[in-house]
């Protein structure tokens, strides 16, 4: 005979845990690789995570300590999620016209792994609150867990660490410049003409030394080019690699220049798209937090 308060705690924890995962899934639709089957995969994983989390408190109450050790076992399972996402995205990236780059992929994979842990934690919280309180307490705990997970998962965007503005596109001989930042050498006159007609240049100026160090990360730069292309549409095919958007760095100031040939020339939205590029977890660098970094900055 199952104790009904246990059942209530577990059910409540599982349902709210899966719901939280579902709401988190919706938020990252743009980077999400596949719908609807990818979504089903992740909801199933969330279900497993929620069951493990929710069952922990009743198991403890019944002094079933072995059951609790399953939490640790489950953690290793969810590491697999990260590997799974990484492998799939890496494979898909090979056929991408503008690749995401390994740093961006690692970031996405890490998010998927972390969200399962969040679900497990939320289910544990809800299960506990329901068991010691009642369903109402469980719902409040669920809402609280949702708010916390939203806060934890909302990373910074490029607009927070740098000023993004339009830059003038020009050529000096075959060399392409956005303002005074050299991008590349383009040999064909026809290509140069197309660049002058269609290309948009963006200059990204970091607000401080932390931003400068973050923007120096090459993975972050590939991510900027990818997101701009994904949102704006790109004027490129496999046999015209010269139209690949690239981001280069001004060595003196740490500013970045993006050159991008969109299908629709709309600088306003391109600037907005660049501002919303996530700052990659692996790219974040904070030299200003150290004594030497602060000293070197002035």
């Amino acid at each position: 005979m199952i104790n009904s308060s246990y059942l209530q705690a577990v059910l409540n924890g599982v349902i709210l845990g899966v719901l939280i995962r579902y709401f988190l899934l919706k938020r990252d639709y743009r980077q999400y690789p596949s719908y609807p089957h990818g979504v089903i995969t992740h909801l199933s994983m969330a279900f497993i995570a929620a069951v493990i989390g929710a069952i922990a408190i009743p198991a403890l109450m019944e002094e079933e300590y072995t059951a609790v050790t399953f939490l640790a076992l489950a953690a290793t399972q969810f590491r697999e999620v990260r590997a799974m996402e990484r492998i799939m995205l890496e494979e898909l990236d090979k056929t991408n016209l503008v690749p995401r780059g390994p740093d961006y992929i690692e970031g996405i994979a890490r998010v998927f792994e972390a969200r399962n842990y969040l679900v497990m934690f939320a289910a544990l919280l809800v299960g506990g609150a329901t068991y010691w309180g009642n369903i109402f307490y469980g719902l409040v705990a669920g809402f609280f867990a949702y708010l916390v997970s939203q806060k934890l998962m909302g990373g910074k965007v490029l607009g927070d660490i740098a000023r993004v503005r339009e830059g003038r596109v020009s050529f000096e001989g075959p060399n392409l410049f956005v303002e005074d930042i050299h991008l590349m050498n383009l040999g064909m006159e026809k290509v140069r003409k197309e660049y002058l007609e269609r290309a948009l240049g963006v200059v990204i100026e970091p607000y401080n030394d932390d931003g400068r160090a973050t923007l120096a990360n090459n993975g972050q730069r590939i991510a900027i080019a990818h997101d701009a292309a994904a949102l704006m549409g790109i004027y490129k095919d496999v046999d015209t690699p010269e139209f690949t958007p690239i981001v280069r760095r001004d060595l003196d100031t740490g500013r970045l220049a993006l050159i991008f040939v969109p299908l629709e020339k709309d600088i306003e939205y391109l600037l907005e798209a660049v501002k919303r590029v996530p700052v990659l977890e692996s790219a974040v660098s904070t030299p200003l937090k150290s004594y030497l970094g602060r000293k070197a900055a002035d």
Binding site: G173, P174, M184, L186, G187, V191, T240
Partner: protein
């Protein structure tokens, strides 16, 4: 270290400026011919034409 960028072909107006290398060299007699050959090669090889500004184009795979 893996070689990620390499010259797949060279298109030149001046035979004296290139040679002794692994990539095939195409000689062109006019600028128009050079442009045309370079464009074809870059499309076929999926490479980018870079101008060395001495009458020589290199097609580089990135």
């Amino acid at each position: 270290m893996e070689l990620e960028k390499y010259i797949v072909a060279i298109v030149t107006l001046d035979a004296g400026k290139v040679g002794g290398c692994g990539a095939p060299i195409f000689y062109a007699s006019t600028k128009e011919e050079q442009d045309k050959v370079a464009t074809y090669l870059s499309r076929v090889m999926e490479g980018i034409v870079h101008d060395l500004e001495n009458g020589t184009y290199v097609i580089v795979k990135h």
